[in-house]
């Protein structure tokens, strides 16, 4: 079985002032292990919604999502929280992706603490330093607050958080669209490096065909809630 994620006829409809908005309308595809599937489409085409659906941050109206053979749509919240270790989100706005009241260190260890993956302070610190090195940050960043870091640095913290749980699958929701062009390249290289090292599968949401061509093994085109073409 090569597929990490299988999506079967997924729909999500919202009721907005008496009209039904079909944000995602009957979508089926799969993501293989170790593969990057780029999802491109214009804004409003439902690609971010689809990303959140895969992580069950939004519940679908109908359809199924399988992750490593498990049906996520049928899962209870408690089981779902456990399974979240293996699938992560890298969001679009790095400047809003970390709690402004938390120091970077605390934000970075939060996933480890939630899933009780570390015992004691020293083990925690060791892991944090390991993560820092993997994403190319320095020790000095740890004691700062999010507003004291640049967009690129913040995105690295977010990536460190996401990989800290050893996930198998990450939804990257336009991870570079808010960054400078020069920083974009370094973040994309980082993501590609990590994919090789850790054997990750990505759903890479973007509206930039050039970036999609660089990162993707396959490209899916989304339009008005439907996937039109997968190559």
């Amino acid at each position: 079985m090569d597929e990490t994620v299988i999506v079967d006829n997924l729909r999500v409809h919202f009721l907005l002032e008496d009209t039904i908005v079909k944000a995602v309308d009957g979508v089926s595809f799969h993501v293989n292990k170790n593969e990057t599937l780029a999802l491109i489409g214009e804004s409003g085409s439902g690609k971010s919604t689809l990303g959140k659906l895969l992580l069950m941050l939004i519940k679908p109206t109908s359809g199924e999502v399988y992750f490593n053979g498990l049906n996520l749509t049928k899962m209870r919240d408690r089981e779902l929280r456990k399974i979240r270790q293996e699938m992560q989100l890298i969001p679009q706005h790095p400047e809003d992706a970390l709690d402004p009241k938390w120091k970077i260190y605390d934000s970075m260890v939060e996933p480890l603490r939630i899933h009780k993956l570390v015992n004691g302070k020293s083990e925690e610190k060791e892991l944090v330093y390991e993560l820092l090195e993997m994403v190319g940050l320095q020790e000095e960043h740890l004691n700062r607050y999010p507003h004291e870091l640049s967009g690129g640095e913040l995105q690295r913290v977010v990536i460190a958080r996401a990989i800290s749980l050893n996930p198998k699958f990450i939804v990257c929701d336009e991870p570079t669209s808010m960054l400078d062009v020069s920083v974009q390249a370094s973040i994309i290289n980082l993501l590609l490096d990590l994919q090789k090292k850790l054997g990750l599968a990505y759903l890479f949401i973007t509206h930039d065909l050039e970036i999609a061509n660089v990162v993707a093994d396959r490209i899916a085109v989304m339009h008005h809630g439907k996937i039109h073409k997968i190559s």
């Binding site: 779902l80 929280r81 989100l89 992706a97 402004p100 939060e110």
Partner: protein, 284 residues
Amino acid sequence: MGIDANISFNFMRRYLKNNTIFGLAILLFLIATVILSPLTADPTKIDLQNNLQPPSLKHMFGTDNLGRDVFARIVHAAKVDLTISLVIVGLSAVIGIAIGLISGYYGGIIDKITVCLIDIFLALPELILALVIVGALGPGLLNSALALVALGWVRYARIVRGSVMSVKERQFIEVSKAVGIDDFNLIVKHILPNVVTPAITLAMLHLGHAVLSLASLGFLGLGAQPPTPEWGTMLNEGRVYLREAWWMSVFPGLAIMLTVLSFTLLGDGLRDVLDPKSRRLVYG
């Protein structure tokens, strides 16, 4: 024009700052009198020979109709009024913030009920509601405090609910959910720290308001019962003797006024420090 605006802005800032210092000075003075209250005369000692004495060296603020020292009574009343007000504000804040967090976060039917309750409470005049509640429970200091808590949580719930609704849509909440955080930790560790600032400012303003409400209930005979010294109750006792003994009413009235002023000024100052963007948060 620009320079003028700048000057008046600076003037305003300095003015606000001095106000805060003034408020702080009054508060420190009040706290000092509370600490030193055991040194005064016995506030409940009746001395009918010396009743209704005007202010003198022996009785700084005079004596009341039963010959009790008004100064001692005011100082001891400060202890009662301040601690009870503090309890009222503390309980109201805790209850209101909890309700605001839950209703803002979960929404749905809980939220509808909360909003409905808030609207009802805010639409009715507060003191009359308090009168109804104390009337039902029976007069007394504890019951009037309970009534004021029953009304006090509303503003905290409203202000916190509003902030929660905007904070919960932010991306770091979604990212934490994606990591697998449970609702309790999400609310306590992420949402609460991001919504609590306006509630703290509100609490400071609420303190002044609570002192005033407590004194109002006392004045109407529903608060502290004699012989417990309490500012509102003292005002009520002095009302009858207003022509013969102005000091029985004027000094407790001044005490109430200075206390409320102090908390209001401090609340304004606190708001300017904690939340420079919002310039208006009116209590009452």
